[in-house]
């Protein structure tokens, strides 16, 4: 019967041709554009734990029940109230998941049940239902869910099931001798609906929160460190504070307007100093995907200050289909985070005001030491010696208008570096380090894929070698600034874009733009970022070899301490947390070959291994939530690593900036050029307005002498105290930094002199004084 059906040959041929064409189109599209579906991240550095086995279930209607107890703390939980309570058995102090309402608040909550639901939510969840729309952040009590509480070994487990979206996750709380640990086991997270996706989890948002009448403050490692005082008069109509640990991720930034108000967070910690207690919250796992979240009275209609971390399992990103189209927001396809583990270290005393931010910093140092040792196998030690000042010497940059003639603006040559040092030496300035920036081919923003050899106009390879051998002979620390990953321009032809540069999720390469003097992004610039994996495989060893051959002994590595991002290139895919680990690995490899390695800004993972921190922040972000700047990270780092401030000549008020260096224990820096600063006007590096060596040499000498005399002898000491003297109604603005050897540095930013109590020493207005033990 089938003999009758004759399929025309032409039809078969046509079908085959169409199929082949479709296949070809599919392959072409895949090859040309790719998609984030193709990107597979490795699981290196991530843990995927299962939820702990339950010992017994806690009934849903149970009152406050003890779930775990040790010699120091008791953990209680009430499922009906969503209340978690930690009690210090030493003195009976209680730390509640949400504070007991006052009479007035209770009346308010009664009328505003929704606010109460928010307050009682043990976790906030950010999710999307369709996987396409923007994220919704809701308290768990605001969404339909079921929960199951279990006693587990050493603690409590709560398993949530969001019934509308099918998102499930488990939270585990463990009580230890030093505090409360929270674990979100990665294998406890399930997404049972096809489209609904989990974006973030905010854990214990109102734990140990505070009211305006409470004594104390939050301690945040924003910039150098910042305090949010509970009793401060506060502007009430601004948003909450929300910032990623270790700085923004370029891959997910929209890059509309440069943010001038923001300084990055360098360590995964916050502190709450309240009444007679101190809680230090530290992230042990999941720090690279965490953000610090601070709210103050008025936010979410609650009368509370609260501080917490939240963890991003997926991030939203902006993309566009064509150049002219608007950006639209999408969510990452897969989760990019393993287990999350954070711990609240609780300390209490009988006396109100026994703890300060210095104690939080000391605790943080201890925790960092522990992380560095366990995670990176590093025992951090202070270097034997350090220089009293960092002089960054800027070599040159190209004018923005290139063309037929070489447009490099030479600001300093290698020979002139030697000349500058000799002049300083003649004036008694010897104990300094020189940091050479922009020495490569085409200067500072020269394309790094062709950065070797050093530009001929600076003196070329010979000039470089002459400088390094001179440095060796004269025992001068000459360090070379080295941009590892930012490609200013397109990579050279032999470096294929497809497999060598960082991509955003979706189809776009990560491109960034420089910032103009007027504070906007310079449009039309076409800059890429080299994939860290590509760098490691193809560039790093060559780079080390070349620099060694030319005699370099010290390096200042860019990106390693200040720039963490995700790479969505399918050939070189890498997560933020994995990049942090890579950076540490690179630092170790560089350290094997060079005498010292410095990093910029100082994210804590890099500080584990680096020898010095350059451009350490001495200010905080301009967020409304903060009231005071403190040297938090300096207290953590002083005595364990040498650090240098931002170049004084780039500061709005150089002397005030130097006073801050004195207060913060930071060695001062300058950024100098041999030739007039104005030559840089039309380059991309037009951020300097006063850098010419001959004009600044006397300032350098003066500041150096103070630094050598005061800061150098203190470099191995810890900062044991830091405070502001009683201001007597705004009369004084004097800060004191006290070191472990008993030395005190007084810095007066005020307009009138201050007499140090019980002494005859006066700290002049805009001056300083040193009191030795």
């Amino acid at each position: 019967m089938f003999d009758r059906i004759k399929i025309p040959k032409r039809l078969i041929t046509s079908i085959i041709v169409v199929l082949v064409l479709l296949l070809a189109a599919y392959v072409a599209i895949k090859v040309a554009f790719g998609s984030q579906h193709d990107v597979k991240f490795s699981k290196d550095g991530l843990n995927f734990s299962d939820p702990a086995p339950a010992i017994s279930a806690i009934p849903d209607d149970a009152e406050l029940t003890t779930v775990a107890e040790n010699s120091r703390f008791r953990l209680e939980y009430s499922p009906s109230e969503d209340l978690l309570v930690v009690t210090d058995l030493k003195n009976g102090q209680v730390f509640r998941r949400w504070p007991e309402a006052t009479e007035e608040e209770a009346k308010y909550y009664e009328k505003n049940q929704n606010v109460l639901q928010i307050l009682k939510s043990i976790v906030f969840v950010e999710f999307t239902k369709s996987g396409q729309e923007g994220g919704t952040i809701l308290g768990i009590n605001q969404v339909k869910h079921t929960k199951k509480a279990n006693k587990i070994d050493g603690g409590l487990q709560i398993i949530y099931n969001m019934t509308d979206t099918g998102i499930r996750f488990a939270l585990e709380f463990y009580i230890h001798e030093d505090g409360l640990e929270v674990l979100i086991p990665r294998n406890g997270i399930e997404e049972t609906h096809e489209t609904a996706k989990l974006a973030s989890l905010y854990v214990l948002p109102y734990f140990n929160s505070a009211r305006q009448e409470d004594y104390g403050y939050f301690v945040s490692p924003d910039g150098s460190g910042a305090l949010t005082r509970f009793d401060a008069n506060r502007i009430t109509n601004y948003d909450s504070y929300n910032k990623k640990i270790y700085g923004d991720d370029m891959t997910f930034n929209k890059l509309i307007n440069p943010d001038f108000k923001s300084w990055a967070i360098t360590m995964p910690v916050f502190g709450v100093v309240k009444e007679n207690s101190m809680v230090t919250c530290y992230i042990k796992e999941g720090d690279a995907n965490a953000s610090l979240f601070i709210e103050y009275p008025g936010n979410k209609n609650l009368p509370l200050y609260s501080i917490s971390f939240y963890f991003r399992y997926r991030q939203f990103y902006f993309t566009k289909l064509s150049k002219g189209s608007d950006d639209y927001e999408l969510l990452e396809e897969s989760m990019t985070l393993g287990d999350v583990r954070q711990k609240f270290y609780i300390e209490t005393s009988e006396e109100k005001g026994s703890y300060t931010y210095v104690d939080v910093a000391n605790k943080t140092r201890e925790l960092l030491f522990d992380t560095w040792k366990t995670k990176y196998g590093v025992e951090r030690k202070l270097a034997d010696n350090a220089k009293s000042m960092n002089i960054r010497i800027f070599m040159g940059d190209e004018n923005r208008w290139g063309g037929a003639i070489d447009s490099l603006k030479v600001m300093t040559t290698f020979d002139e570096v030697i000349e500058m040092y000799e002049e300083l030496k003649a004036k008694g300035v010897e104990d300094i380090r020189l940091s050479i920036a922009g020495w490569q081919k085409d200067g500072y923003y020269g394309n790094i894929t062709k950065k070797f050899n050093p530009d001929k106009e600076f003196g070329g390879k010979k000039g470089f070698e002459k400088l390094t051998s001179w440095a060796k002979e004269n025992n001068v620390e000459v360090s070379f600034d080295n941009n590892l990953l930012l490609v200013y321009g397109r990579p050279k032809a032999s470096v294929p874009l497809r497999s060598s540069v960082v991509k955003k999720p979706g189809v776009h390469y990560l491109q960034f733009q420089s910032i103009t003097s007027s504070g906007v992004y310079r449009r039309g610039t076409d800059n890429y970022v080299l994939s860290p994996i590509y760098y490691e495989k193809k560039v790093m060893s060559k780079e080390i070899e070349k620099l060694r051959k030319m005699g370099a002994e010290h390096l200042d590595l860019q990106q390693v301490g200040d720039n963490l991002f995700t790479d969505y290139n399918r050939y070189t895919a890498l997560l933020r947390s994995q990049l942090a680990d890579k950076y540490v690995k690179w630092l170790k490899e560089y350290k094997e070959e060079f005498d010292s390695i410095s990093v910029y800004y100082g994210n804590s993972y890099a500080v584990s291994t680096a020898d010095k921190i350059l451009n350490i922040p001495t200010v905080r972000s301009a967020n409304m939530v903060f009231d005071e700047t403190i040297p938090f990270i300096q207290i953590v780092y002083h005595g364990i690593i040498d650090y240098y401030g931002n170049p004084l000549n780039n500061e709005d008020d150089p002397w005030e900036a130097f006073l801050r260096c004195l207060e913060y224990g930071a060695f001062p820096s300058y950024e100098l050029t041999y030739r007039p600063t104005g030559d840089l006007k039309y380059t991309n590096y037009n951020r300097l307005f006063n850098s010419q060596f001959s004009l600044l040499v006397n300032d350098v000498v003066e500041i150096y002498k103070i630094s050598e005399e005061i800061l150098k002898p203190l470099r191995s000491e810890y900062i044991v105290n830091h405070y502001r003297v009683p201001d007597e109604g705004g009369k004084y603005e004097v800060y004191v930094t006290e070191y472990s050897n008993g030395t005190k540095i007084y810095v007066n930013y005020g307009k009138i002199g201050y007499i140090i109590p019980d002494t005859t020493t006066t700290v002049d207005a805009m001056g300083y004084a040193v009191v030795t033990a």
């Binding site: 998609s35 601004y238 108000k261 003097s517 409304m624 500061e651 008020d653 104005g678």
Partner: protein, 691 residues
């Protein structure tokens, strides 16, 4: 509502005004100044956030949609709190003094949406009660005195709609009111409140196409078209010296400084758009308010980017700072700006209802004092202050210019030239240069004159000797060397330039056109173009630094006209039966560049001894060369194609028209191609999300 209620519950601290002093936060914006050409150059911070003022008590309530701020002579601060229908009065120390809000609908003091407040030196308060379409006068203590209702006058017309927004009063008692949509100007009321006139009417700004339409069509023909009206005023301010500063709704003439006679005395037509932030895809700026300080420095604030621009009394930009945002020292919707006696700048944010106060840094104070000393003629004191400024900012242009001028006054022209050069100011540089040149000539006149005379004698003697020798010996037999072809090439070049009619004819019909010549000429042309840029003096380069020249672009633009003209001409002459081949046209076209090659470098060198006052001489020479080149193009077309002179004219004109058309077409095709490419990429990306 609930949120507001709870905020009140949460904050029971009974402070009337909150002032928060931020401790050490870096300025949350870029600090820069703008050059006359619109370049943004960085400076140390001139202004830093000092305080934030917010009202927080339950009784008085926060500011709600505040629209105006005014600082009276006694230092008291008046805020038009529009959303709360009141005027709030603060002391110079920012303490609450009292407010004006009336007792209810029957109380004449009751305000509705007050949009502006002005206070006389005697303390009289004048308020624009926009909701009630009236001006209200209050006593110093806030008691109602008088209400100015809608002005009436024949001149206002029947369809006059009075919607007052902003008000000021001059020292004669005349009141100036802006009204929404009133394009005829500021409404001027006499001291008695009667309408007097429209004041300072803006001009109609015509686009090119509007102007063309006016030229080509009569008024009758243009009936039914959209009528272009003058821009309206959005805000006004009166300075101590009684100049009226007014912002307009125009996007190109955003500010006017008007005298009593209604004439613009400084900024007429000046575009205040900050191209350093708006170029490319940036949105255009909207300037919402202006104010003036005791030094007569003017402050202009824009609501699109939140930038504050400070200009001195001569209109030179001193500083730019400020940005939109939610941090200390930022604002989200600025509506008004004011400056107090201490130089502190107040910015009202209508969205958040807070006032941000900026204080000048020592650096800014030094600039202000130096500029004031300079304008008052205290040059030596001013010089020392400017030097302090330069110590902090090595290329602050106003410092360089002012110091240069001080040297000029002391007849130290060389130093002045150096500073003006660094300031990249060709006009001032030229004045110093001319003085220096005159001094040089005066000092060395005898030597210069002797050298010139000797040179002239020497040259003429040499020429006559050579001529005599030639006549005596007859023509020298020519030896052929490696140099001969080059020599012949130059001879041909000069020959065609000197005898274009014969020259182009010979190129076509006598085989004088060589590709080698063409390449040689065009290479020489590009070299001479580039060299002439390098050799032209700073003055005649108009102060443009060599660093700013895009050399690749210059080469492209040197060659592009030649190629386009040749192609178009080939097309046109093919239709017009021209006899010239493509080869002849392209070679002939190259020869048209010869006058430039011969003259541009000497002219560029000549500019080094010319000042601005001899610019006409230079322009004349350039015009002459251009005319000569134009004629050569004509002779080229005529000669190469063997046209009748008249036909040559027609074809030349047609070629010019063709070049315009081709350029326009190229732009369209290029634009379409880019769109097309983007379209395919877009499809690919969309598919990649599906597959």
């Amino acid at each position: 509502m609930r949120r507001k209620k709870f905020i009140c519950l949460a904050i029971l601290v009974a402070l009337i005004v909150t002032s928060i002093i931020p401790v050490t936060a870096a300025t949350p914006y870029a600090n820069y100044f703008l050059t006359e050409d619109g370049w943004a150059l960085p400076t140390p911070a001139a202004y830093v956030p000092d305080k934030i003022i917010e009202f927080k008590t339950v009784e008085e309530g926060k500011l709600k949609n505040p629209k105006d701020i005014f600082i009276a002579e006694n230092g008291n601060i008046y805020i038009a709190d529009s959303g709360n229908n009141r005027i709030v009065v603060l002391s110079p120390e920012h303490e609450f003094l009292f407010d004006i809000k009336g007792e209810g609908p029957n109380d004449p003091s009751t305000l509705s949406d007050p949009t502006c407040v002005y206070v006389d030196p005697d303390g009289t308060i004048l308020v624009v009660d926009a909701g009630n379409k009236r001006l209200v006068e209050f006593t110093e203590r806030g008691n109602f005195r008088y209400s100015y209702l809608t002005p009436e006058d024949e001149l206002l017309g029947e369809d006059f709609s009075y919607q007052p927004q902003k008000v000021i009063k001059d020292n004669r008692g005349y009141i100036y009111v802006t009204s929404i949509g009133e394009y005829r100007g500021i409404i001027l009321l006499g001291p008695d409140g009667q309408f007097r006139n429209f004041f300072g009417t803006n001009r109609v700004i015509l686009s090119f196409w509007d102007a063309l339409a006016r030229l080509l069509w009569s008024r009758e023909d243009r009936k039914g078209q959209i009528v272009n009206l003058p821009y309206t005023f959005s805000n006004i301010y009166i300075s101590e010296d009684q100049y009226i500063y007014a912002t307009t709704t125009s996007t190109s003439a955003q500010l006017r400084k008007i005298n009593f006679a209604g004439a613009d005395v400084l900024y007429d037509g000046r575009n205040f758009n900050d191209t350093s932030i708006t170029q490319g895809a940036g949105q255009s700026q909207v300037f919402v308010d202006v104010t003036v300080d005791k030094y007569n420095n003017m402050y202009l604030i824009d609501s699109t980017y939140g930038r504050i621009y400070q200009f001195d009394e001569w209109g030179q930009n001193l500083f730019v700072w400020g940005s939109l945002g939610t941090g200390y020292g930022q604002y989200s919707q600025p509506t008004s700006i004011e400056v107090d006696d201490q130089g502190r700048v107040y910015v009202v944010d209508s969205r958040t209802g807070v006032i941000t106060v900026f204080r000048p840094t020592e650096y800014a104070k030094t600039v202000h004092s130096a500029n004031k000393l300079f304008s008052e003629g205290h040059y030596d004191e001013s010089y020392a202050q400017w030097q302090k400024v330069l110590d902090q900012d090595n290329y602050y242009r106003l410092a360089l210019q002012s110091m240069g001028t001080i040297h000029m006054r002391k007849d130290e022209f060389k130093e002045a030239m150096k500073l003006y050069y660094e300031a990249e100011d060709p006009d001032l540089y030229s004045t110093a240069f001319e003085e220096q040149r005159a001094e040089f000539i005066k000092s060395y006149f005898s030597i210069i004159a002797t050298v010139v005379v000797l040179l002239l004698i020497g040259i003429s003697t040499l020429v006559s000797v050579i001529r005599r020798r030639r006549r005596r010996l007859g023509p020298k037999p020519e030896k052929i060397t490696w140099f001969t072809p080059i020599k012949n090439f130059f001879k041909r070049m000069v020959y065609v330039a000197r005898h274009p009619i014969d020259g182009f004819d010979e190129i076509r019909y006598e085989g004088m056109g060589y590709y080698g010549d063409m390449f040689g000429i065009m290479i020489l042309y590009v070299i001479s173009e580039l060299l002439s840029i390098v050799l032209t003096s700073f003055i005649y380069r108009d102060g443009v630094s060599l660093d700013m020249i895009d050399w690749g672009n210059r080469i492209l633009w040197a060659l592009l006209p030649w190629i386009v003209i040749v192609i178009v001409n080939y097309g046109v002459t093919t239709i017009m039966y021209g006899e010239g081949r493509f080869r002849d046209i392209i070679i002939g076209g190259a020869f048209c560049h010869v006058p430039y090659i011969l003259t541009s470098i000497p002219l560029a060198i000549l500019t080094n001894v010319l000042g601005r006052s001899e610019a006409q001489l230079f322009a004349l020479a350039n015009t002459f060369i251009s005319i000569y080149v134009g004629l050569m193009v004509y002779f080229c077309i005529k000669g190469v194609h063997g046209f009748h002179p008249l036909k040559g004219v027609v074809v030349t004109i047609l070629t010019a028209v063709g070049v315009t058309a081709v350029s326009a077409l190229f732009m369209i095709v290029y634009g379409l191609a880019v769109q097309m490419f983007d379209f395919f990429i877009q499809i690919g990306k969309e598919l990649s999300y599906i597959v």
